[in-house]
Structure formats: C-alpha cells, structure tokens
Amino acid sequence: MWEIIKKEWLLLFRSNLFLGVSLGFILILILSVYLGSYENQRKKASYENAKNEMRSQWENLKDMNPHGAAHFGTYVFKPSNSLSGLDEGVGAITGNVLRLEGHVQNEILYSEASQMQSVSRFGKLKSSLLLQYLLPILLVFLAFGSINSEKQSGRLKLLIMQGAGTTKLVLAKTLSIWLYGLGLLVLVVLTHSLLNIQDFNADVFVRTSLFLLVYALYYFIITGLTIFFSTQTHNATIALTFMLGLWILWTIFLPNIFISSVEKWHMLPSRNEMKTAMKEDRSKGIDGHNPSDDREDEFKKSILKKYNVDSLSQLPVNFDGLVMQADEEYGNKVWDKHFGNLRETLALQKQTLQYGGIINPFISLQNTSKGFMASDNLHHQAYLMQAENYRRVFIKTLNDKHAFGGSKTGDWDWKPSNDFFKSVPDFDYKPTSVWSIFSSYLLDLFFLGFWAFAVSACLIFRTKQIEIL
C-alpha cells in the first residue's frame, strides 16, 4: 500500500497546478496563523493594560466607605487565549467588559461585532476558516477524479493485474490525499505552537492534539467519501458534483438551519421577561437601601437577638454592612435561579445541536474545534461564572469590612484605610481545564468517529467489486 501512496504523491507533485495551489495554500495558512497570533498578542497587551489600570484605580481608593466602594465596583476584561488564534469561536460576538459591583450582576458588554459594520459573515481569516471551509474543498478536488482517471487511462486494470486489490488501491488513494490534508493541518498546528511557545503547557498540548484529531477525522471522512463516490460513478464530474452538493449542504446550509431551529425548539426568555421575573423575585427579599422594608425589620430583630441587645446602636457591629450582605445573598439566589435556567437551556441547545452530527459531521467538527480551542459558549459561560464568583467574594469582603471593620450602624462616613482596598484580591481568571469539559464533547467525538468508521466500511466493503473499465 505504501508503494501506491508513494506513487500517488509522485504523480501529484509532478503537476504544476497542484504545486502552485499547494504553495498558495501553505502561504495563506501560515499567514492566517501568523496574523491570528499577532492579533492575539495585541489583544493580550490591551487586556493587560486595561486590567492594570482598573487595579491601579482600585488600589488608589481613598476616603471611601466600603459600601461606596461596592458601588464603585471594578471592571474585568475577558482575556484572549493564544488558542483563539486558531479558532476564535464566539470571541467576536460576546462582550469583553464586565462591571462587577454591589446589588447587581451586570452583563458582559462591548463585543467586537457591535463596534463595526458587517464585514465577513464567516469570521476572520483564522486558521479554522481555512481548515473548515477551504481545505476540505481542496481535498475533494484532489480526490474526485483519482479512481476515474485511473479507469479512463486503463491504469486501474494494469494495477489490479499487477496484484493490487481494489480495496487496497482505494484505501491507498484515500490515505495519500488524506495525508496531504493532514500535512497541511500539522503545518498549521506546528506553526501556531512555535509562535505561541511561551503559552505552551500540558492543557494546550492536549487541546491542540484533540484539535488535530477532530480535523484529521473530518478530512478522512471527506476524502474517503469523495473516493467512494468516485468508485461508484462512471463519470468523475458526477462524483465532484455530488461531493460539492454535499459540501454546500453540510457546510453552508445545515449548520445555519440546525442552530436556528434548535433555538426555536428550546426557547430562551426575552431580556424583558427575564428582567421582570428577576425583579419580581428580588422584590421578595431584603432591599439593603430601603430601611422601611418589612423583611429588613425581621432581619434586624434576628440580629438584635443574636447579639442580645435592644437597639442597633448597642450592636458591636455595623448593621448596615450585615443588611447589605443579606441583600446581596438573596440577590445571588435570584441570579442563580434565573441564570441557572438560562445556562440549562443553552446546554440543552448545545446538546440538541450536537445530535445534528448524525447527519452532518461538520457540525461535530465546528463544535469540537471551538470547544478544544476554548472559544465556544461553554468556555464563555465558565468565564462568566468565575467572574460572578469573584464578584461575590469581592462584595462580601467589602460588606464584611463595613459590618465588622469597627464602624457603628449608621456611620456612613467611616472609611477603612487604603491598605484594606489594596488587600482585596484582584480577579485572577483560571483558564478552564480541557478535562473538566471533555465530557461535553464526547457526542461530537463519537459522531466524527462513527462517520470515519462508516466511510472506512464503505471503502473496504463496497469497493471490492468496482468496475475497472
């Protein structure tokens, strides 16, 4: 088989057209990796600058009551990871700036897409754009005539007479073109790894390997199917037309239809509905800024009882801080309930979309590509959760200082020293480990594996009796 593969490669490399296209493709792939990494580095620098500026503003807080500081809040910025140089995923769509403050959980704002007019429907020229849309087409073009050209030139008969079985021949042809695709893929991954060597670690290695695996499987499916149709038709053009039709259906048509339909099947609430429901739930809790609130009165009684005193002025702690924290904790419960439901619906949408992989492996490829490159919605949600968890710690630290820092109830002029603000830890985003989310992509991996297996089975069992003339 290796001999046939070598011969195929030799034939390919004798073609000036193939060499020209390959060279052009290699150049554009390397350019996309380089520019993707460069853009990423610029984003990182801009992120670091913004992060440092916000921290410096926080550390320089003076003369501020802890609750005033909770309202002043801070901002966190969504960091860019080096892997998004390969697949940006939802990065350009989701916001980048999140305000963290007391009483309220804000939404992440200022996406790249909202800052300019429409320029490219399929995103930037990142490697994923070329690897998902263009390279498969190239493989189809290389594969569609490979069996038919052998038939038409009479070489197929000759090869079989020389002892090469049809199955072996078909597999060798598939592998030779697949290896070409794999070569380009490896080139992309290696170039990207070299350009981002400073960020390379075990997690990045696993993610990159999985990225390589899913694309390798998809290329095998595309190459194998094209070769298979090439064996089943008398005319190479029919195989080409069929594969192009399939490519259009899989790549352009179905992903759009599927994801739009999934959102209709599992409806998300409108912002207005959700806000109204949250406001309603929130109104059932303590309002830290409304002293005439009945629930605050009950809370007050419980605190007085706990400290065994008759009035707020006798409390050894500042009641205002306690009530603000109680308000916060109730608000957190409301947020957990509503955003929990939202995340569940999003997860359900994702899972339903994943089942699309049964008839369209491209959907599985897209899911895993952005998933393993840490740029899908799952990773975005994980970031938002970390930010929210930080917000809770951040606000609790301020409320605790307000309550237990030495001030008395009603003393809104009390201010802790600047050292206290400096001691509040900064938001330290921990990138999501690939293993913690790996199970979310098992379905996609299964479908890609299933398709690769089915294509292999077709190549092995359905090409034994192909017409050799």
Binding site: I28, S32, E39, R42, Y47, A50, E53, G89, V90, I93, G95, V97, R99, E107, L109, Y110, S111, E112, A113, S114, M116, Q117, S118, V119, S120, R121, F122, K124, L125, K126, L134, F141, F144, T237, L240, T241, L244, G245, L249, I252, F253, N256, I257, I259, S260, V262, E263, L268, P269, R271, N272, T276, N290, S292, D293, Q349, K350, Q366, K370, N377
Partner: protein, 439 residues
C-alpha cells in the same frame, strides 16, 4: 436557431436535470425559511415593544394615582416628593425604541447584536449595560441566522454555479459543440441566451420569494420603495455573479474545470477576502475596551463634583442659560439643593464627549471597511441589504443618537424646572409624560 427556441430547449434541459431542480428547490426552501426567520424577529420585537409600552402605561397610572390621592409618592419611599420636578420626571417611565422596519424580513443584519429598547433616565447613556443585545445563543449569533440576505448573498451564487457549471462544457465533453456551432452560428450568443434563461429563472424565484416576504410583514404600500431597492440590489448582485461565471463557462473546456474555477472564485470572494479584511481591520483597530468611558463615568465625574461651586454654577449656566436669572440662582439654600439635583447634566456632558470620540473611532473602522468594498463586493452587498432593511451599524448608530437626544431633553426639562422651582401637579406630570415619551 431562434432565441425563444433556445429558451424552450433550456427549459427541457433544466427540467431533465434532477440535481438542478433539487438545488433550486433547496434554495427556495432556504429563502422561505429565511423570510420566516426575519418575520419572526419582527414579530418578537414588536410584541416586546408592546409589552414594554404596557408596563410604561401601568407605571404611569400608578404615579397619576399618587397625584389624585394627594400623596407625595410610594409609601415605602418616604424621600420621594412627586411635587418636585426632580422626582416627577424621575417617575415618568420613558423608553426609546428602535422600532423594527417591516423590511427586516429581508435581512436581520446586525439587529441581533444590539438592543432595541432602552430605558431613559437622567443617568442614562447610549453605552449603558442595558443596551446589550437580546438574549441569544452566542454560537447561533456566531454561525449567523439563515435569513433572506444570507440566502441571496451566499446561496444564490452557489445556485447559479450549479445551474451554469455544465453549460457548453457538457456539449464539449459529449462532442456536440461543433454541431451546435453549425446550428447556432455563434457559440457565445448561444451560451449567453442559455445563461439568461437561468438568470431569469432565479430573478423570478427571488421576486416570488420577496413577494412572499412582503406578505409576512405588510411591506407593499408603505415600504414599496425599499422593496424595489432591495430587488434592484439583488439583480445587480445576480448580474455580478452572472458576468463572473459567464466568463468562466465561456472559456472553460470541461464541467469539472468550470466547477473548480467557479467554486474557487466563490470561496475567495465569500471567505478569503472578507476574512482577510476582517482580520486586518481587527489588527489595525482593536476592540475598544471602553477605558475612556469607564474613566469618565468614575474618576472624571468625581473631579466634576469636587470643583468649586462657582465653576459648577458657570458650567450649568452655559448649558442652561435660562436658569441663571431664576429665583433659585439667587437663593443660596435652594441653589445648593438644585445644584445637587442637576449633577446629572454635567455628567451627561462628560459622557457625551467620551462617547463621541468612541463613535468616531468606530466610524474610522467603518471607513476602513468601506474603502475595501471594491475588493470585497460581498460586504458591500451585505451592508446594502442591511441598510435598506434598517439593520446596519449606521441604523443603530442613529438609534444611539436618538437615545442621547432623549436623555438631553429629559435633563433639560428637569434642570430648568428645578431651578424655576416648578410645583408639579397631575397636569404638569401628564405634560412631562407626553413630552418625554414623544419619540
């Protein structure tokens, strides 16, 4: 051979080609699906606006009831005094809407990247967090909705490719071309007429689809101009692809070669060029993390409030010359309170300046994109579609400007009436409601 005969022959060719028929059917189905997606978004936005307006009316009724009962405000908010302009305007619920155009059925454009309603208060700004887009799956936004503009911009060239790819080349491969040359005399005109058949076929299908879309949101009548503008753009776009493909099939020898060239051109125009320009713009002008706005909202505003009284007075008098001679301006006790309640006016001016520079930066980015239209025709046509269906960046920029005007109007009415020491009754409250809610 007469042209009309060629048309009929081509119809026979087409009707005997299941692949082409399936492609046309899929295109039509995608078109219907896309139009329905647009119509659904239109209905959703309209119903959301109705529901918000209903809430606004309920809130207004509640406030009016305080005036009727002679109460100063809600019982659990003792600090509220609805007889003062500050609280009376505070209790006028106001929303600014980006009312969807019925033409949205033809292109969702950037509508899902922005909010379409905004509550206006004296502390609002067009960059507030409630300007965020409607809740949606980010992965769906990234892949994009299959709307009618997607069908036209991306699927139409593919349909044309499928319909045209084997014209002439099939005859060449089967050895009939010389025979046709004898009959038709001029192969180029023979090919041209055959091509025109498919162009007409697509034009008619698109027109029927657009009429179907028009029936979904009642476009014909009030928006007939938009309808014809869109159809003209569509025809222009079809013409562009027809010219490109015609050159390919006229020069090409085999169907496979034609297909390779046609899909290659489509890939370059739909993916490579827009993707490269997108990346270039992104590198040249990275995403704004809004540090200037954050600074303006926090530090700069603190600096304003720490200014000496005389400076604040002067700033307020420049903004609202009519308050300088008011009674309040000469009453130190009243003046202090009025000045405190007018703080939002100075903050608004500060935020406006910052937002203006951010919008300028965005406009520069858009200029960069516009300057590449000659190289990136797909983006040109996409943005034309968005512009006619009122879902382009510019439409939302205009919406943000209207929001700013609404904020300015609110602040002006409030500040002037505070300084004039106006006593607000039910009639005055209703007047505020009317003025502040006029779109």
């Amino acid at each position: 051979m007469r042209s009309i005969d060629l048309f009929f022959y081509e119809w026979k060719h087409f009707s005997r080609s299941p692949f082409k028929i399936v492609a046309l059917l899929l295109f039509t189905l995608a078109g219907i699906y896309g139009l329905n997606s647009g119509s659904k978004l239109y209905e959703n936005q309209k119903s959301e606006i109705t529901s918000i307006n209903l809430k606004v009316s309920e809130k207004q009724e509640e406030t009016i009831s305080y005036y009727t009962k002679g109460e100063k405000g809600p019982k659990d908010r003792s600090w509220v005094d609805l007889t003062t302009p500050f609280w009376a305007t505070w209790y006028v619920p106001t929303y600014k809407f980006k009312t969807p155009s019925p033409l949205i059925v033809y292109g969702i454009g950037q509508a899902e990247q922005y909010g379409f309603y905004k509550q206006i208060t004296i502390w609002s700004s067009p960059s507030d967090s409630d300007m965020v887009e409607e809740i949606a799956n980010p992965e769906r936004l990234q892949i994009g909705t299959l709307d009618f503009s997607f069908v036209i911009i991306f699927l139409l060239p593919l349909l044309l490719l499928i319909l045209l790819h084997n014209l002439k080349s099939a005859e060449t491969e089967q050895g009939y071309l010389m025979l046709i040359n004898v009959q038709a005399r001029n192969i180029t005109s023979w090919l041209f007429i055959r091509t025109i058949f498919y162009v007409l076929l697509i034009s008619i299908v698109c027109l029927l689809l657009m009429i179907y879309g028009a029936s979904l949101t009642n476009i014909l009548g009030k928006h007939t101009d938009g309808f014809f503008q869109l159809y003209s753009i569509l025809l222009l776009y079809l013409l562009l692809w027809t010219i490109i493909y015609f050159i390919v099939i006229n020069k090409g020898k085999t169907s496979a070669e034609n297909t390779l060239k046609m899909i290659g051109i489509w890939l370059v125009l739909a993916f490579v060029i827009p993707g490269t320009i997108h990346l270039w713009v992104s590198i040249k002008s990275p995403t704004n993390l809004m540090l200037d706005l954050i600074d303006a909202q926090r530090d700069e505003f603190d600096k304003i409030s720490l200014q000496p009284d005389s400076v604040i007075d002067r700033q307020l008098y420049i903004l609202f010359p009519e308050i300088e001679l008011s009674e309040t301006a000469n009453d130190s006790l009243k003046k202090a309170n009025s000045k405190m309640q007018s703080g939002s006016a100075l903050a608004n001016e500060l935020i406006k300046k910052t937002i203006h520079s951010i919008e300028l930066e965005n406009q520069q980015k858009n200029d960069l994109i516009r300057n590449t239209y000659w190289l990136n025709p797909i983006a040109f046509f996409q943005n034309k579609f968005n512009s006619i269906s009122e879902t382009s960046y510019q439409d939302y920029h205009q919406y943000r400007q209207e929001i700013q005007q609404s904020i300015d109007r609110r602040i002006k009415i409030m500040v002037v009436d505070i300084w004039k020491d106006v006593k607000v009754d039910k009639k005055q409250y209703l007047e505020y409601s009317k003025t502040l809610n006029s779109q």
